[in-house]
């Protein structure tokens, strides 16, 4: 069987942000799993994401030192799935709902991490 998270992270480590897509339904899936939710379709293949998305919801986690505060967002991907991420390249509290964003793969703690930047 496929190894959903392991394979996704291997792609990310190689600089690719991948989604799953069902060959039969055409539906995109994130987070990765063994079958498409709702349909149960198991004919999932890896496809590269467009990386384009829109901020659906946003919060700012406040720290004692304002410089340490950071945003947490939900992004609606152009392909349909929604995921949690962060918008870099902008003040922590500068992110607004509806903002167009684009995916970037960066490194944090020695691990690749998917973030977004304003378009």
């Amino acid at each position: 069987m496929i190894q959903p998270e392991t394979e996704w992270r291997a792609h990310l480590a190689q600089g690719r942000f991948m989604l799953q897509r069902s060959r039969s339904t055409g539906g995109y899936v994130f987070y990765p799993r063994v079958a498409e939710p709702m349909t149960g379709a198991e004919d999932l293949e890896w496809v590269e994401a467009s990386g384009r998305g829109t901020v659906h919801a946003v919060t700012v986690v406040r720290k004692k030192d304002p410089a340490d505060s950071y945003n947490v967002v939900l992004v609606d991907l152009q392909e349909g799935p929604r995921l949690m991420s962060r918008v870099d390249g902008i003040a922590a509290d500068g992110v607004t709902i509806g903002m167009a964003v684009s995916a970037r793969i960066t490194e944090e703690g020695g691990q690749p991490i998917l973030v977004f930047v304003p378009v």
Partner: protein
């Protein structure tokens, strides 16, 4: 009605209810508190411990908590559950106990819970793990998830921080009428707005308490209920819906599973939201009563902010909401759902003292678990 809904409405009743150790309960284990609350609820009902043949609990730090409490009490239940639907577990237990009682599988159900995280902070590994798909972004669990839902509600419907603060202030005003409530000092809208921001737009005053507390209720069939020491509180409807685990997978951030469980439970009971006298809705954060009032049908989607304004859910307002002071000002030891049921029971029995809702006939207790993930609605009447 009951045949169509599949729920045996009115066939079972809550006959005992108790709280214990609200606020600070040091020097004991969580299971001590659950057992103490259980014995108080059984005494309230006038039922012997030996009669209990079904046990429902959700231990805070013990995955096998159902087994633990059965052992502690020295009972041998036919049905034991320690479900993991978070704070909604106890409303789910009422549903399950009503079904098992009606089927004749059991004769006496005990639902109990105790937790003292304020006095006895949990050590070691917790019972939930962070989502691999969310953890890298360091959301504060669970407040950032509720904050994200709040941001969406504000964006779509113009809900304001002042309206969120109204929820906290209303809870505090009810708490001031409840000697058992933990937080009773004055609280104003401005206090909430000026409080320390934790995860925008929610401040520390938009968050529930994190204190100690235990509660228990006892359920039997309606025929047995007539012989109990208290006025029985019949279970008229109970329904549950799960929509997701993590906030990133919530189908619609402004519509909870209460939009499924609520109408189902009201239909089982054959009533409408407008018939409700006492509305107990899980207030983990100030946004949650707004969402649940909408989803349960007390107002239209998007109008929850306006609904809670001008003291409408405070004492003397249009709808009595969270009359014990809620999770925001009375008690929230991690999972709050059972306290909703106890307060609804006390109101329907007319035992709520200074906060008593006059001639309360119908109450709803709506539990929430996870991050708006699990929603369970119980409709209670007056026997």
């Amino acid at each position: 009605m009951t045949r169509n809904s599949g729920f045996p409405g009115g066939k079972a009743a809550i006959v005992g209810a108790a709280t214990f150790g609200i606020g600070k309960c040091p020097g004991v284990a969580a299971v001590d508190m659950a057992a103490q609350a259980a014995l108080l609820a059984l005494a309230d009902a006038g039922i012997a411990l030996s009669e209990v043949d079904a046990l429902y609990t959700s231990a805070p730090y013990e995955a096998l908590g159902g087994l633990e409490l059965a052992e502690y009490l020295g009972i041998t239940p036919r049905v034991t559950d320690c479900n993991r639907t978070g704070g909604s577990a106890f409303e789910v237990y009422v549903q399950q106990a009503a079904l098992a009682l009606d089927a004749g599988l059991i004769d006496c159900a005990l639902i109990a819970y105790g937790s003292n995280p304020a006095s006895n902070p949990p050590t070691g590994v917790g019972m939930t793990r962070q989502s691999a798909w969310e953890a890298p972004y360091r959301p504060l669990a669970p407040i950032s998830s509720y904050a994200l839902a709040t941001s969406r509600h504000m964006h779509l419907y113009g809900t304001t921080r002042e309206q969120l603060a109204e929820v906290a202030v209303a809870a505090r005003r009810w708490a001031q009428l409840n000697p058992e409530a933990a937080a009773r000092d004055p609280l104003t809208i401005d206090d909430v707005l000026a409080a320390r921001m934790v995860s925008d737009p929610l401040t520390v005053r938009d968050c529930c308490l994190f204190n100690d507390g235990a509660a228990a209720v006892v359920m039997v069939r309606a025929d047995r209920a007539r012989d109990c020491a208290t006025r029985p509180v019949p279970v008229l409807g109970a329904a549950h819906a799960v929509t997701h685990r993590e906030i990133s997978s919530m189908p619609d951030l402004t519509v909870t599973g209460a939009a499924i469980s609520g109408p189902t439970a009201f239909a089982q009971a054959g009533i409408r939201p407008a018939d409700i006298d006492v509305c107990m809705v899980y207030d983990a954060f100030t946004i949650t009563p707004i969402l649940f009032l909408e989803d349960l049908g007390f107002c239209a989607k998007g109008e929850g902010g306006a609904f809670v304004s001008d003291g409408n859910i405070a004492p003397g307002g249009g709808l009595a909401v969270n009359t014990n002071g809620g999770g925001l000002s009375c008690v929230h030891p991690g999972m709050y759902g059972l306290f909703l049921l106890v307060e609804a029971t006390r109101q329907l029995r007319g035992e709520a003292g200074a906060r008593q809702v006059k001639d309360a006939q119908l109450a709803v207790a709506h539990g929430n678990g996870g991050v708006l993930s699990s929603e369970a609605t119980v409709v209670l009447g007056r026997g």
